[in-house]
């Protein structure tokens, strides 16, 4: 609800005579003219590359692996839900591993549709999806730019040295296990 007192009346300022006659245009012209002779800040890209802050740059996604080298994703669809660009498509399946309930049988990200907002990273309960500092993303076809699970895992293999996994201890939600089992892997430690 916007109340009347929330509305601010902003009047235009009174103009001076010179402003009314558009003389300040000349000031602007002088500014731009001076810039012609200023030092250029262009970075000649492939030859010269800027260094990025690895921790928070939002580039190509990767799918993290857990300690056993398996995909860490549990196919909970949280990223797909959070994605404002609808660029993530997951097909879940029953996981082939004992300690895991669900896993992504397919995991596609349309990198062309993605807006690199990082919502998926925020939403992921197991820190399986992360954005890497890789930004030179090119492809010749649209199909090429739809990254599937293998490609995303590859990105992880490639970038693991540059940006280590945030929390490698989380390896998914465990639903099976023995009653009174000795050392059951702890789930996400979200509550309890």
């Amino acid at each position: 609800m916007i109340r009347d007192e929330d509305i601010l009346n902003v009047d235009e300022p009174e103009l001076t005579a010179s402003e009314r006659l558009y003389f300040p245009i000349l000031v602007g012209m002088r500014t731009t003219f001076r810039h012609i002779f200023k030092k250029k800040i262009t970075v000649q890209y492939p030859e010269v590359q800027r260094t990025l802050r690895v921790e928070n740059y939002r580039g190509v996604h990767r799918l993290n692996r857990d300690a056993d080298g398996r995909v860490a994703c549990v196919a909970c669809f949280m990223c797909e839900t959070a994605c404002p660009a609808h660029c993530i498509h997951i097909v879940a399946g029953e996981s082939p591993w004992e300690d895991r309930e669900k896993y992504p049988a397919q995991f596609d990200i349309d990198e062309l549709r993605c807006i690199y907002c990082g919502m998926c990273e925020e939403a992921c309960p197991v820190d399986a999806i992360e954005l890497t500092p890789e930004y030179d993303l090119v492809g010749r076809t649209r199909e090429e730019m739809i990254f599937d699970k293998e490609k995303l895992l590859e990105v992880f293999d490639r970038t693991n040295g540059v940006k280590p996994r945030k929390n490698p201890k989380i390896t998914g939600y465990v639903a099976t296990g023995r009653r009174n089992g000795s050392e059951p892997p702890r789930p996400g430690a979200a509550t309890s």
């Binding site: 196919a75 399946g93 939600y173 639903a175 023995r178 009174n180 996400g188 509550t191």
Partner: protein, 561 residues
């Protein structure tokens, strides 16, 4: 969703007529008028209150085991006789309403009980919502958010229970279970098959099946629906899609002539699952597995997707825009050459009433003496009554032998329009004798249906339009094959075995290249614009007054589950 329940009673037992002596009770200082005999919980739910409950289900017996719905109630003080709040809490699901009763749910005592209960339910819960299919429609989630503690005080190791395969279509995740016993009661009271039981006691209590007797009855899918948490899960839908992505469309099951009210949950034009809707007197809260899993043919790649036109020996793919002209021209030609009575239209009981009516009107407009045929009615065995082995009048649920949704509707239309009409067998017989030169045959059955005699008779037709879903002997030779949409791609109404006219909505788009039956029949019948069931129903109702009365399933109270 409107909060008042229309027509019937969402409570178990027969709904009583609204009479003058409706008890008035006072919930949280608010006077509420309710139907006699219902539990306070039901009255509160119908009044729009969100009272947490797990074990209570209006279709099942009451056990008052979850203790979540406890309320405070005023009773006469044992010494003074004055009405005062009783020191102990009462289960609102087990307390029937009584005129003048004063209860409250908004006291600290009640809330404290709800918090404690929720903490107890979550003691051993694995909190694996991200991988649980119930997430999004889970009452454990909702209630712990609304009524529970934000954290658990338990420091011990949680119990781990392995998931159990309790039947060919159902999985049991015991550690998500809240022991409401709805599933057990369902197997006992509705399906009458008694497969489920509770084993062990106290914190070790578990739902289980008897050894060698898996949960495998014709209604077992309902236990997944009534399970308030993610404990019982449907293998068919397992991990398919998260429920918050699903779009729900209200529909009617076409599996048999019961006409269960269902909800089609679909995502990106793919039907993901079917769920029953409350429809008193028809299917109540339930539906059968046959209907529940019977939608798979919708996405069968073998379905006919485009019209096929055979002209001489050539096969063409006609444009949808040209079809009304082709059809009209060819039928008029047939009438001219062979006579007005040589035309017939077979109206399939799989069609919606609107479609059948449009087709019948069209055929009668090109040939006034055309024969309208009540289409082939597939029949399978006998009616199955539930609870298993009960008498007909005691049945809580019936699976009918007629495996089509709309025999009554088609018959109503054919008889209302009058003129030449015949049954399907008679049609096949006469067709074999060459009585018909131009026919329009509608199929649309999910299973192969063409009788042998029919296959022989097809050679006699000079011009035939066949509307069907799968290729068969008819579509192989028909002059014009029109694809039929599955019911989820159409809209209209079905008339069930008891004459209830129930409308259903369109859930998904027809596959590429196809067009909705209603729409092309609408075009062919010479109307312009968009086909909607409602629009055609209005036209029908002007001629056949019976169709003015539509039976829609009543809305369920908001917080009922």
């Amino acid at each position: 969703m409107p909060r008042e329940s229309r027509g019937g009673s969402p409570c178990h037992g027969a709904g009583t007529d609204r009479s003058a002596d409706m008890p008035k009770i006072n919930i949280d200082n608010e006077a509420i008028e309710c139907r006699p005999g219902v539990p306070v919980l039901q009255a509160a739910l119908e009044a729009g209150r969100d009272v947490p409950h797990y074990c209570y289900h209006p279709g099942l017996s009451i056990v008052a085991s979850c203790r979540l719905c406890l309320m405070e109630m005023q009773l006469p003080h044992p010494k003074t006789g004055e009405m005062d709040w009783a020191p102990k809490l009462f289960p609102s699901c087990q307390t029937p309403v009584k005129d003048g009763m004063v209860v409250r749910f908004d006291s600290e005592k009640v809330r404290e009980n709800q918090r404690e209960c929720m903490e107890y339910f979550l003691l051993n819960h694995p909190l694996d919502c991200p991988v649980c299919d119930q997430a999004g429609e889970c009452h454990l989630q909702d209630y712990s958010f609304k009524f529970g503690h934000s954290e658990s005080r338990m420091v011990d190791q949680k119990l781990k229970n392995p998931k159990k395969d309790i039947g060919p279509r159902t999985l049991l995740y015991q550690d998500r279970c809240v022991m409401c016993s709805r599933c057990v009661r369902f197997a006992d009271e509705v399906s009458g098959t008694h497969e489920l039981c509770i084993v062990n006691r106290g914190s070790r209590a578990e739902i289980d099946v008897f050894p060698g007797l898996p949960l495998d009855n014709a209604l077992q899918g309902n236990v997944v629906d009534i399970c308030p948490v993610g404990s019982l899960l449907d293998k068919d839908f397992l991990f398919k899609q998260r429920v918050w992505f699903l779009k729900a469309t209200e529909s009617i099951c076409p599996g048999c002539s019961t006409g269960c009210a269902i909800r089609v949950d679909h995502h990106r034009e793919v039907v993901q699952r079917l769920k029953p809707r409350y429809n008193p007197g028809v299917n109540d809260w339930w539906m059968c597995d046959e209907g529940r899993f019977g939608f798979k043919y919708v996405h069968d790649p073998r379905r006919i997707g485009r019209p096929i036109l055979r002209r001489g020996g050539e096969v063409e793919r006609p444009n949808w825009d040209d079809i009304p002209e082709i059809v009209t021209y060819r039928f008029e030609q047939a009438v001219e050459r062979h006579g007005v009575d040589k035309v017939a239209a077979v109206l399939s009981p799989m069609m919606a009433c609107e479609e059948a009516w449009l087709l019948a009107k069209f055929i009668r407009s090109v040939a006034a003496e055309a024969t309208l045929v009540n289409g082939f009615v597939p029949v399978d065995g006998d009616d199955q009554l539930f609870p298993a082995g009960c008498a007909t009048d005691e049945a809580k649920f019936t699976i009918r032998r007629e495996k089509c949704p709309n025999r009554r509707g088609v018959e109503m239309i054919v008889s209302a329009l009058g003129g030449n009409a015949c049954a399907f067998d008679e049609f096949v017989e006469r067709a074999g004798k060459g009585d018909f030169a131009a026919v329009w045959i509608v199929g649309g059955y999910p299973k192969p249906w063409v009788p042998k005699a029919m296959e022989k008779a097809v050679g006699e037709f000079r011009f035939s339009v066949v509307q069907d879903m799968f290729p068969n002997a008819l579509t192989e030779v028909a002059s014009l094959v029109l694809p039929t949409c599955a019911w989820v791609e159409r809209e209209g109404c079905f008339v069930n075995h008891a004459g209830r006219i129930q409308p259903f909505e369109r859930a998904i788009e027809p596959r590429e290249g196809a067009k909705r039956d209603g729409q092309y029949l609408f075009d062919i019948a010479g109307h312009s614009g968009l086909y909607t069931g409602e629009r055609v129903r209005e036209m029908m109702a002007a001629e056949i007054p019976a169709f003015a009365e539509i039976a829609e399933a009543p809305a369920v109270p908001v917080h009922q589950h």
